[in-house]
Amino acid sequence: MGKHKTPMLDELEKGPWPSFVSDIKQQAEKGKQALKDAPDDLLGVMELSYKDKVTHWKHGGIVGVFGYGGGVIGRYCDQPEKFPGVAHFHTMRVNQPASKFYSTKFLRDLCNLWERYGSGLTNMHGSTGDIIFLGTTTDNLERVFYDMTHELNQDLGGSGSNLRTPSCCVGLARCEWACYDTEEACHELTMEYQDELHRPAFPYKFKFKFDGCPNGCVAAIARADMSVIGTWKDDIRIDQAAVKAYVGGEIKPNGGAHAGKDWGKFDIVEEVVRLCPTGCMSWDGSTLKINNRECTRCMHCLNVMPRALRPGTETGASILFGAKAPILEGAQLSTLTIPFIRMEPPFEELKELVNKVWDWWMEEGKNRERLGELIQRESFQKFLEIMELSPDPRMVSEPRSNPYIFWKEEEVEGGWTRDIKDFRAKHQR
């Protein structure tokens, strides 16, 4: 029995699922954390919020460590007498290793560090990707920061109007679809932009995310102001013998992911060919053909038959800009801007793009305006001008039915002032 009665929260422990309420109770019982009452009081204040149907956290706070402007988020409870354990409950963001590879020793060290100075409660991981330390007091911030950087060789992540902690998928380390080394790119750009990551000076947040292929395991296209998504230029590699093995049932589709229920015999036409969004595949009973010019890299066929189909060998990435969650405007996905770029260290070409985008956004962006909203406000044409790029059909979602082009005056012979009668005399309609 905890310090506070929490009948509503207790409901969240029922059922077969893991429960954060049970996790917090476990930490309260264990009792090794420096902030003894934090887990109990956290449950207490949450129960009160459920009852009052309103949050009991105050709006924001400005706390931090010397030298950095981000990485720590101030949290104060508006009922500190009732819940002294969470009167100060600051969050610290810790920059996760690329692709979140850990040794168990490192995880233990992290948890011990946090029990030494905080509530012991963590969030693995926050939606941006950081390791989140939940709940400590202002006095302890510098101590955590010192031990974390000196003993664990780990840095704080981003918060506020700065570059947020870059994140990447598992990449070449474990995945056959990765079209470039996402970890290398993520690490290289993290190191290059340390200033932007730790010292907020942007109009608002900015996120990089690196997906190795269009499957998008870190959902770069939906969440990053700059989405880097692996792709290939040449043809999908086909092993016709393996295709036959899938059809014959010797190899299970989707790497055997659909085991546990009998879905019947694998039907290549129904399950692959007819699901191709551009209809660029055909199966004549012995050979699978792909019209690669029409392929939009949807990944479906590669996912179903990974041993028969592989991405091409001329690999790199597509760069898209402007995704964001709904804040000022609605949610939007990133827009394709660079169809193909080689992705090799030290990624100079990519950094040039980043610098161009930031120069423009920092100059023109309003306070709390994401890049995607600035592009919307100033138009995509303007964005292309800034990026020194020419429009390309691949930037348009349906170029064949929506070939919209705005001409500028200087691009039209004679400008807006030419005499139409004169022109028609020479050129009939």
């Binding site: 924001g60 706070g61 400005i62 706390v63 931090g64 460590v65 010397f66 030298g67 950095y68 402007g69 101030g74 104060y76 100060h88 202002t138 506020g160 109007s161 200033d195 010292r199 907020p200 000076a201 109009p203 920092m362 306070n367 709390r368």
Partner: protein
């Protein structure tokens, strides 16, 4: 209400240590608050930033954006952090006696 005690003087501040009553601010108060932000001595360069932030606030009733602060004072962001280790928002604004900024600087 939390209080901050520096060199025998007591100030009413918010949880983050920002001065509650802006009318109390003067150069002596700024010097005292600077100590709590890791600044041993206020130099001419510190005053340039503090006065800029304060005047901007008095004119527009909001703290300036970081970019504007750098542009108008001619200091690079790194320089601002050298002067105010806790940064422009927490450091410079606090010393300048502004209420807690809401995510601008």
């Amino acid at each position: 209400m939390p209080t901050l005690e520096i060199e025998g003087r007591t100030f009413e501040v918010d949880e983050d240590g920002f001065l509650q009553d802006p009318a109390l601010w003067n150069e002596e108060v700024a010097r005292l608050f600077a100590k709590s932000e890791g600044i041993a001595e206020m130099t001419e360069e510190h005053w340039k930033v503090v006065n800029y932030v304060r005047n901007y606030y008095l004119e527009f009733n909001i703290a300036p954006m970081v970019r504007k602060l750098c542009k108008d004072t001619g200091f690079k962001l790194k320089k601002i952090y050298d002067l105010f280790p806790s940064g422009p928002a927490k450091g410079a604004c606090k010393v300048a006696g502004l209420p807690k900024p809401t995510g601008c600087v």
